[in-house]
Symmetry: D3
Subunit: 193 residues, 6 copies
């Protein structure tokens, strides 16, 4: 179980409202390579990951991704602050307003609802941990795309912080994959099939 603590892992600031950036940033809230996807993939895998250290890592990183989801959510809300309906319409981003006003929803920038089809889990520790490393690499790349889509130095700071965390997670998943493979003693099940 989880305890909620009312402070953000990173103090998400913005220099000015920027609704178009809000609409793009939602990629990391409800997109295929975003924080919800990461959190849900790791927290789901832990139930059958037999290696204890790997399992603990999945819980730790999964829980941190929930905190990142919160950072993204707060940032998007600040980027949307004070936007009126007709402004949203002028900017070409009123599709979101119609359904959710200036609130959030688990969608990607094109407005597609988040789906568990984005996630990977086959119940094989090598395959699953490799999927996690790939997930972190993709999240990193999407953060890089987002950094190139804003001029706001404060938003860039937040995005750089989150990008760094993905690199750390990728490194830790690589260690876990090494441990898992060691434990399997050079893949005994290689010979089984």
């Amino acid at each position: 179980m989880w305890i909620y603590e009312a402070n953000l892992e990173y103090d998400a600031k913005v220099s000015y409202a920027d609704p178009r950036m809000a609409q793009l940033l939602i990629a990391q809230y409800g997109g295929p390579n975003g924080e919800l996807a990461a959190a849900m993939q790791y927290l789901n895998q832990r139930f059958d990951m037999e290696n204890k250290r790997a399992r603990q890592l999945l819980v730790d990183v999964g829980t941190e991704e929930l905190a990142h989801l919160e950072i993204i959510g707060v940032t998007i809300r600040k980027l949307l602050k004070g936007i009126k309906p007709m402004q949203a319409r002028e900017l070409g981003i009123a599709s979101h307003y119609v359904e959710h006003e200036n609130g959030l929803f688990y969608v990607n920038p094109s407005g597609n609802s988040w789906t568990a089809d984005y996630l990977k889990h086959v119940g094989d520790p090598v395959a699953d941990m490799t999927s996690n490393i790939a997930a972190e690499e993709r999240a990193r790349a999407v953060y890089e795309h987002l950094i190139s889509l804003t001029d706001d130095p404060l938003v860039q700071d937040t995005l750089r912080f989150l990008r760094e965390r993905e690199l750390v997670h990728a490194a830790r998943f690589k260690e876990a994959l090494y441990i898992i493979k060691e434990e399997m003693n050079t893949r005994k099940n290689f010979y089984q099939y």
Copy 2:
């Protein structure tokens, strides 16, 4: 942000492995009215719920639903314990095994991946809180269906505990709706349109 605490909110026990029940119980893991859906709906709504007490309630209940998701996950794993591939095939539940072995995934009993299309959020406090009350009523009904689909008294105990919690949540959301309406002073925005 959240802190993970390594103990379950309820000590989920089962009397015996029951893979068919596992396949049905997954409704509360990844189904349209399950715990993931509840957690995600409330945690998403909090970002734009202006009433402070209602917002806090959304965080509290959303966080508890994550704990319930964990209870369901642990129970499913126990119900699947020791099941071999050919047994799964005999029981007609190998569709899940092929893709996820005896692990979990965010699907409903028919194997459909969870989607945010299940969730409701329009950014209107009255509409959103009413959606939450409805969500709790549906979760209650699904728990009642599940109770009638097992003879295992330990599984039934867990399901009854979770059903009770949904009733509590529904009651608290009704209070919040009352407060929101009071605050709006008998719906001033009624006259606005």
Copy 3:
């Protein structure tokens, strides 16, 4: 069975073509809280709603929502009248044109196809009727958002008429819920689980 009558429930007029508003208004044609969703939810629930008055209400309201769907469809077509491909491209709304020309399709403003995942039905009269009240509240809120996204007084008139109808439906579903609860005599099934 249904008989079609060739006149609209409300004389849907527009002051001028407004293709961007057409693209937003489609929320009530094929969106998660739109008229198709309402019609389909109620007409589906009637098959197992045991209370006779509630069942009749579901048929009546469901049938009226089909009429509203028609009003929305006619309005969108008027808002798109005379729009040429290159104009659609200039306005940033040609994504729809490519696939459907100036016709309609069951999508939300972001172009997502309508899905029954939007609908709620668990076969419990209390839960289902509560889901319907919530559906009407959300439809009302979306109409309010749409009213704020246009300056055309004729379109606003139609939207206000439809919004009013949602309030009436919500009130009638609340009555039905009261009747259902009375009939259950303070929820006997409360003690069953």
Copy 4:
């Protein structure tokens, strides 16, 4: 707009409860080639079908498909009559029960929610009417599959009636296609591109 008339287009009878057949028959309720899909495709296309007779035909057939949807719904309910939860579980069809009890939902026999992605509409009268002819041929084929999956002569009677109607619709759509092509005077737009 539509007027509801409280009698079925065909007196749908069943000889005995047959929950497995109910689960298969739902193909014609919420499946890709079922009655909802047919009704929604035709009623959507009418908004931009310029030929008056073709447009009227779309309304007529679309409205009749709604009546067929009702026939299917009533039949499924009869096939499920009296089924208890544990029976549903024994029969391997409890996935539906968990989410919807013995009620209906717009799904195919595998439990996938209906989606407008099944529908075809490109705003070109020749292409759209051809899509409708194909839709009727598929519906016919699915009825033939269903007839071969039951021994109940009363259910077969209903299915044969509905299959016959699809043949009639296909014939009328072929006539409409002929008229549309005539009107285009051997496809003037052939030379346009």
Copy 5:
């Protein structure tokens, strides 16, 4: 099995980068009536199409549609050439950039992921071949829409070439349908049901 040959079926040229057209043209890459949909529908149907000539035709046309998919992919890449992130943002098409940079993905112009729900296959040769004729008619109509959405004569040339091929495919599927019906000797199975 297939052998890849490193040249295009048609020399896809563009006069200038046109990222908005790229975003629309993706309809024929990952949209419901695009080349992937065509290829996948025909290659899937061949496995149970009993008439030998019809089966061979499905393989031939399916394989050609893969070549068309390649032509579309190359054209989109040329239309996106040299586009910088901030330019994409200015043009209102950065939603794609965030997730895929200037690469491709199987989506329609609204950004919806391709799904096999677009495809038709019921295992009845008449119904399936009719579905294919309809698919070609729709593809033709979408090419016509695209031609009207660009002023670039080179892009129009490619689109006209592909449109012509769809007309050829439609004609060949009509011949195959005729052969299939002949073989069935005026539909013996008409009397079977």
Copy 6:
């Protein structure tokens, strides 16, 4: 473009009809980690993979996966040979029969339609190649699950052959990732953000 050659990459044999295995094996035809998913992911990535050797590898492996898709398709058809409707119903696998007779469709064993949401492509060579390695590891694991779900030695032979190919592909993608990283000279873009 591709040339079709009318022989299979591996002579797919089966010892006996086994419709339940057919229903499970479809995981590799239309499932999230199946051959269609692999082929489509690699063939899509090649359009923007700048390293020439990596790009050629994507085309080669993507084309081979299409051949594997064909092997799976042929095997499923053999496993379904001679199955009558009522047999399918008895075996609990008639959901597929209703919609597709004994033909194929791009679904997973639970009957969910294939979606491009399964695929990964962010336009970053390191992230994309890592995603491919993970895809191959998952495909391997799913083949291992399938091998454990059949006793037919001929089907096992085919599955082992295909599993071996995935290991070869994984190894080649690892080489390509190494080359890509070398070329980036220890990730210059690491310092860019």
